[in-house]
Assembly symmetry: C2
Homo-oligomer: 319 residues x 2
């Protein structure tokens, strides 16, 4: 059975994983999930990216929105607002609250996040092994210009409240330096047949995962070919605001620049969209095998084809 | 302005308070609320009696049920059950959850329960000053025969899950001995013009409040007349299962026995229902002034009349 390890963020990663499962239903898939955008809200531990993967693969996701639960209601949030308790800009629904309540209660009882995630997945049956990148607390903060001052805000505040519309100067995964990979992460990377970077945000999603000491090294040292898919198509992000955070770390918003940002020490292969075919030569010049294929995840079939192309490129690189 | 202090449990106490406010809208009412039935559920601090008073007087109560919120939904609870997380026997609704989330978050931030209750009441405007009996943790446990063994269970488990249908041998307010009255409690009792015991449960509601060292003494020492209303009418509780917990502490379920249980060191006056008129002589023989008046809280008007009778008896006792 093919062992595939995927470093995933939220919506993009989750949708890619659905395509991957469709492409290779018998594969043994381990997902290393980003926890850098985790946040404590209302005294509860919220893990947006882990939950997006879990809900998407488990059939509970709000399809159009891409995050949160299908058929969601917002009674708790409305009541919290009636008490004057916010933040109001973060959309926690009632069904979603239950997940955070269970998680927070288990963490308080002493279980590490990896064990909690496994317990939550016992209900959702995502069909992959979902591991948080770390059991330690890492929170991505963004250095921004806000109200006339330069200050660090939590990634969610930058992303959701400020909609990435204020100038960002640095992205800092606070706590990453002291964090250890969660149990199973390094083992999965070492045993992988293929390692994939889905078209997730290269800075705040895949970048956060790689910021945990040991993970970048394990990816670089893995026997398995490492293949990524560009989240940038035609010079702008397919979804989200990856261009903003790429700018903050001094990387151009092009498919080739993102490949060079990861670098040939990590990447063996890179897929760009057909509209970026001219980037292939530049990426290959950087020592990374590159192909131009359709990269729009319009539906599961299209996404499954992308995943198949990534696996094909991995096979080519290996050979 | 007449200063009235009321020792209140949940539904009965809350409904009585609504009648009292209607009877004397200009009175300065302080409620000392029972926290002995507080419980930690899903990692949240739940204060059923305080909330019942707050929601009832603040216009948010589920009228027919007597507890919980009007227009309540149960998405969080259903989701928790889908995760296999209980208890399922405790009916926490979505709107109610918000109250517990705010409370738990404030407690975690270091605020005492009295300050938290004041903050919650800033929204609900109950028109009374609502004080928890203590800021310390007190939990009423019940010694029961269950599954062939004698064991202590939380009051809520006895009351809600077991519906008081198993033999109870003792009622223990765990933690009461080390508890201190919340700020304002002793001052309110000392400054009161009248102290009232509504027809709340004499053991697990008013009894829990009196179990906090200093409160019983302050009631006994108060200059104000102390008048109670019998929760037992015609030999059985008007609502709830007070007879079960009275039996556990060796008190007969009669209006007169409850008066004697409180005793003339606490009570100056006692109201029994007209159907218990024969008890008046027995109560007065115990040194407690007694009147027989209608004691069914069928609506706010009937309840206001009961409150007025209690205040009239207090005036009589004082004179």
């Amino acid at each position: 059975m093919q062992r595939i390890v995927v470093l995933a963020g939220g919506i993009g990663g989750a949708r890619f994983l659905r395509g991957l499962k469709s492409a290779v239903p018998d594969a043994d898939i381990t997902v290393i999930g980003n926890t850098g955008d985790d946040i404590h809200l209302f005294g509860l531990k919220v893990c947006p990216d882990l939950d997006t993967v879990m809900y998407t693969l488990g059939g509970g996701i709000h399809e159009e929105q891409g995050w949160g639960r299908a058929g969601e209601t917002f009674a708790v949030k409305e009541e919290l607002a009636a008490y004057g308790v916010g933040p109001e800009w973060f959309g926690l629904g009632d069904r979603d609250f239950a997940t955070h309540i269970v998680r927070t209660q288990m963490l308080a009882a002493g279980y590490p996040l990896s064990a909690v995630t496994e317990a939550l997945c016992a209900r959702w049956q995502p069909g992959v092994r979902l591991l948080p990148m770390t059991d330690d607390r890492v929170e991505t903060h963004v250095l921004v210009d806000l109200e006339g001052a330069r200050k660090a805000v939590h990634f969610q505040e930058y992303w959701v409240r400020l909609r990435a519309e204020v100038p960002a100067h640095a992205i800092v995964p606070v706590g990453a330096e002291e964090a250890k990979p969660a149990p199973g992460v390094l083992e999965a990377l070492a045993a992988a047949d293929v390692i994939l970077f889905p078209p997730s945000n290269p800075v705040v999603s895949v970048g956060s995962i790689l910021s945990v000491p040991g993970i970048r090294e394990a990816v670089a040292a893995a026997d398995a070919p490492v293949v990524g898919l560009s989240p940038i198509v035609g010079g702008s992000p397919v979804r989200g605001m990856a261009d903003k955070v790429l700018a903050a770390v001094g990387v151009e918003s092009t498919a080739a620049a993102v490949a060079r940002h990861y670098g040939s020490d990590l990447l063996d292969g890179w897929l760009v969209d057909t509209v970026d075919a001219q980037a292939v030569a530049e990426v290959e010049a950087a020592g990374i095998r590159c192909r131009a294929v359709p990269l729009m995840m319009t539906d599961t079939d299209a996404t499954a084809k992308m995943a198949a192309e990534a696996l094909a490129l991995a096979g080519e690189v290996r050979a």
